[in-house]
Point group: C2
Chain length 383, copies 2
């Protein structure tokens, strides 16, 4: 609990009006006054400030209300931009995102297998300059970069504490990238960025309590409670990949036994597949599954069981409104969703199951980029 003062109060009310214009655009001043229960005078004053600062404009769309038509308000998409970056082991995605959260342009580059930290940073810098210039955006309108990456991230200090996938440990990524690009930098775990996107432009816009499950090279979750990312003591909340689910299970590369990721991660699936035939990539397993090869069906049957167990655990502990399934597995094998849901029906306690919506991310490969850019706007935009 914090002391409430007039300055904070004003700031929160401005933010509330801005967020309502974002969510309900186009909207009239009268509607804003009704929804916020603020006086028409306060609304007029706040809207005028936001217009003068360039965040809000009068819409060309006409109100459909009867009688004198009130002017409708909307956000100015081009008042500012951020760049969203998704950093993964083999690929880096860079996107330019406007004030509405829309992707203006998108680039990607492959990371070479021996690519150094410095080379990666230089490539990000190069693509960032390129994407801004090619779209003729004034540099001063770009307020910063948001970067999402796998691993345990100290988002306040901008440090990558540990990232197994990138093989980075205690790297001051935000500072290094700021020095190189001269932009403000926000970094966070990729799934925490992605859930921001789902909540702003994706599958859970109407909910403040949802969980995103990401299933790809690893498995993890991000949690949104009361509209805020739940972080835990050191931003590791949601790291379910190394939850032990079977104390008699197989040994995990982390040194423990029966971790969830030993059943679901791509490397675990490939290792199992190799007991049947030589398999080099997860795509070959997915192809075999699509062709209904028995061994692949058996492996994927076990995978859906453990995904459903993870969903069940999350549902019982948090009781969220939505669990959003996302990641390479879901993108590649959308049909697998119905098997996961069937098992969830069997595993999840009925009182919780009946209120839970299981949905599928539609943001695909844009999710982390857009989420990172939107999060950078939320953090860096000082109203």
């Amino acid at each position: 609990m914090e002391k409430q003062d007039q300055l904070l109060m004003k700031k929160q009310n401005r933010l509330l009006v801005l967020e309502l214009i974002r969510a309900m655009s186009p909207i009239s001043r009268i509607q804003l006054s009704k929804v916020t229960k603020m006086s028409p005078t306060s609304i007029t004053r706040i809207v005028q400030e936001l217009q003068e600062e360039g965040f809000v404009r009068e819409s060309l769309i006409e109100s459909t209300s009867i009688g004198r038509k009130p002017t409708l308000l909307e956000l100015c998409p081009d008042v500012l931009y951020t760049v969203g970056v998704e950093l993964d082991r083999r690929i880096v995605r860079v996107g330019l995102v406007d004030f509405l959260g829309e992707l203006v342009d998108f680039k990607l580059f492959q990371r070479k297998s021996q690519e150094s930290y410095k080379e990666t940073l230089n490539n990000i810098q190069e693509k960032t300059v390129q994407i801004i210039n090619e779209n003729h955006i004034e540099m001063k309108k770009v307020i910063g970069l948001g970067v999402g990456l796998p691993g345990s991230i100290d988002y306040e200090k901008g440090i990558v504490k540990i990232s197994e996938q990138l093989q980075w440990e205690n790297i001051p990524l935000a500072d290094d990238l700021k020095e190189l690009t001269t932009h403000n930098i926000i970094i966070d775990n990729e799934l925490k960025m992605k859930i921001i996107a789902e909540n702003t432009i994706g599958q859970s816009i109407d909910s403040d309590n949802c969980i995103l499950l990401g299933i790809g090279s690893g498995i993890g979750a991000a949690i949104l409670l009361h509209g805020e990312v739940h972080r835990g003591t050191s931003n590791n909340a949601g790291e379910i990949g190394h939850t032990v689910i079977d104390p008699n299970g197989v040994i995990c590369h982390c040194g423990k036994v029966g971790c969830l990721s030993t059943y679901i991660s791509e490397s675990a699936i490939i290792a199992d597949a190799n007991k049947v035939k030589p398999i080099n990539s997860i795509e070959e397993v997915y192809d075999a599954y699509r062709s209904k090869e028995t061994w692949a069906c058996n492996i994927m049957d076990r995978v859906t069981t453990y995904i459903a167990l993870a969903v069940s655990n999350m549902a019982c502990l948090y009781e969220p409104e939505y669990i959003i399934l996302s990641g390479h597995l879901i993108d590649e094998l959308p049909g697998i969703g119905k098997f996961i849901e069937e098992k969830c029906d069997r595993y999840i306690w009925q009182s919780i199951r009946q209120n839970l919506k299981i949905v599928y991310s539609k943001l695909g490969s844009e999710g982390v980029v857009r989420g990172a850019a939107i999060q950078a706007q939320k953090v860096l935009l000082d109203l």
Copy 2:
């Protein structure tokens, strides 16, 4: 996000001052001003109001500061009272609690095996009147009753949706009890009440992010985030007893397979014990364990494994500061804690384990009663 207005702001600042006096008592006006960053004038005004209303008084304890001694402030314990009630299958506990959260007096009665809903309510009413009268408390000082009970509770409507243990379904407990006692009634799940007690007078006073695990006739958890009970869509967050942890496990009375409670609940333990010798109560199992009988050690070894798995799941999903272990098992076999912790060390990912404190409830049989009474004060006290 809500509109911020002056009235709300004043109310929040009053509450902040009151809570600080509670937490840091005895405390001077100057210290309050420093901690809250409010002006000395504002503090003096708020404190004067709180004194006039009887919530706060000047302490007899002298400040140890050098120079002119500032007057220290503290709460008035006897400004108001609430009654806390713990309703369980076989036993009902009733406690009178003052404004400091201290237990003034405590009574309990056994529920007969065929006791009707109405009889139980009458007994609660009788004990409530008795405990108030015997302690010579003016009835108008008792602002309400808080009731904690096992099951799925609609705490806003005051309805017991379902309680397996009490065999109640869709019972308007709060309304019925209000009609009988004429007091305001707050009801909630027992563990949600208990974590309020742990956070106010127990093991997690200094933390706003903690989880309470209750292990007794059943198993469940309550979760506190940012100082508020996390409820989920319909107040079922934390209901981990029927989380499936082994899809090849034994059938549970809920109809599912491999629920956590099939490994840990008292009835499951007793059923297992009966495979060895005739055992009628959990106390006999505990006695055998204390005497190091092999079968009892094996059963309890498995129990600690599954408790550690539950702790591991909760730790990875929430990353809380504390996990508080409580309930009949922990109260009766305090030595078992070290086995649970050893397994937690093995199961929980190191980055999360290192920041997690595993502690043990010391409130014993008073926990739910005091928590329910404190929660009733929080909800009913309209500053």
